[in-house]
Symmetry: C2
Subunit: 284 residues, 2 copies
């Protein structure tokens, strides 16, 4: 692992690091905010998965998460959204290829070689984080925005027991029924739709839900509501009797201004769930 930068922020440290990933076969970069409490013990970890076109940097600089993470004494990791580099397949479209990994393990050419973002998040980066920093593996939560909200919900429901809580900002909520999903799943996973259902939050919610609290915020003036399909997830959550809260926030669009407005609530939500989850760390 290489340290690219470390900067004091709200009494803690905002770091940027890179490391080789076996999953993607590339060097990967991530941001990690460690609160002051991490100097003296292990702290809970919140994952923030970003959306289309983003790197590790967008949410780290624009979401405003660190102020509240510092207050609650929790760390936040900001992974990249895809493998990158000259040897990595790409596409001219903004919503396929680099910056658009969709948090799946691609099985189709030309993507299968490097596009293994599910394994990257679930395994590779996980080991880098818990082996390298003062983080409590027993206290993890996950959130994300748009494509990253899809990733957060999919990983949370796909890895039972791993995360104490999951939240999302304007997630791609039903990708198997959206042009944000069908295009990418066809490319990465192939035309057989049976391989897609493990990566659709609405289908996962209908099938088994999440063993913990769920919080979803959606802007009412979001430019992409037709692609996000939040109503499908809301229906599935309530039909499942899923512990959770779905909030429609009128006037907010799809931008980081929307995230910055409500991230405080999400951090408090996850901090409480992680405190309740009984982790093993000194940060408890």
């Amino acid at each position: 692992m290489k340290t690219l930068s470390e900067t004091r922020l709200f009494g803690g440290v905002q770091g940027v690091y890179s490391h080789p990933s076996a999953a993607t076969g590339t060097e990967m970069t991530f941001g990690l905010f460690l609160p002051r409490a991490a100097r003296t013990g292990k702290v809970p970890l919140l994952w923030f998965l970003s959306g289309l076109t983003c790197t590790h940097e967008n949410a780290m600089t624009k979401a405003g998460a660190q102020a509240w993470a510092a207050e609650h004494g929790i760390a936040v990791v900001f992974p990249d959204t895809s493998p990158r580099g000259d040897g990595v397949a790409d596409d001219a479209a903004f919503d396929l290829g680099q910056g658009a990994g969709f948090y799946v393990n691609a099985t189709q050419a030309p993507w299968a070689g490097h596009y293994r973002m599910w394994d990257y998040i679930a395994t590779d980066l996980t080991r880098v984080l818990f082996d390298g920093f003062a983080l409590d593996e027993g206290r993890q939560a996950i959130t994300g925005h748009s494509m990253g909200g899809h990733g957060a919900l999919s990983l949370a429901m796909g890895l039972p027991g791993r995360f104490a809580s999951v939240s999302a900002f304007a997630p791609i909520a039903n990708p198997t029924q959206s042009d944000w999903g069908r295009k990418q799943f066809t490319a990465y996973l192939g035309a057989d739709e049976s391989a897609w259902s493990a990566h659709d939050a609405t289908l996962l919610m209908r099938a088994h839900g999440f063993d913990g609290p769920v919080l979803v915020d959606q802007g009412g003036a979001d430019q992409f509501l037709g692609l996000l399909r939040p109503e499908a997830l809301a229906e599935a959550m309530v039909a499942r009797r899923q512990e959770g809260i779905f909030r429609m926030q009128p006037g907010y669009d799809h931008s980081y201004f929307f995230i910055a407005t409500f991230i405080r609530d999400h951090i408090a939500f996850h901090a409480r769930a992680m405190a309740d989850s009984g982790g093993s760390g000194a940060g408890s």
Copy 2:
């Protein structure tokens, strides 16, 4: 109007009053909590509509609303759920007739004579309250439980501009598709289902929604989830992009213990919406 009792509570007064209603043609009883602030000026008013089998008394004594209403300086009215008396039609079933008015104006025999609970709430009791007490007619909000949640949502959407906000605890959310609804609407309104749609929160939400914030709490262990159909309302709220919050509360049932646990949030929600709504009273 007759004063049946007035009792000091949280620095204010819990009163019980009765009055003749032109709508129902009967004497009607209601509870009204006035906070201390009503001694010196007009205060905002929250309506609490109760559920099947309830009188004005159940929520008044079991919901725990007054503690938080006092803190926010708002009044709460607890109407009865139907006309009552020897000359009033009734049914042996708990969910039809006395105690089960469903907040509609009945058009069918033998109910049409007295069962006009929509007009009673919307007009008769309204005039009694604003003519007789220090209440700010420009600042009203409405909530309710079960059948009363249905009533609150229906009245809020059916009387645009009247209420600043609406909330509900475990509302009968889609009565035209439930045995809690089809039976009563057939009896009170007749078999022509076109007359029912003005009294179904899900259909009203799909048609035009509510011009203000909506808050719904539903217990995950509610005994009546199949009759309440909360998932239909959740889907409709998000599909409409309705400003609002839908919360599934795991482990809570249909009882007043569920209401008492979350009424604090509802009072704060309505107090804020009424403060934002710019009423005319000295309580502003």
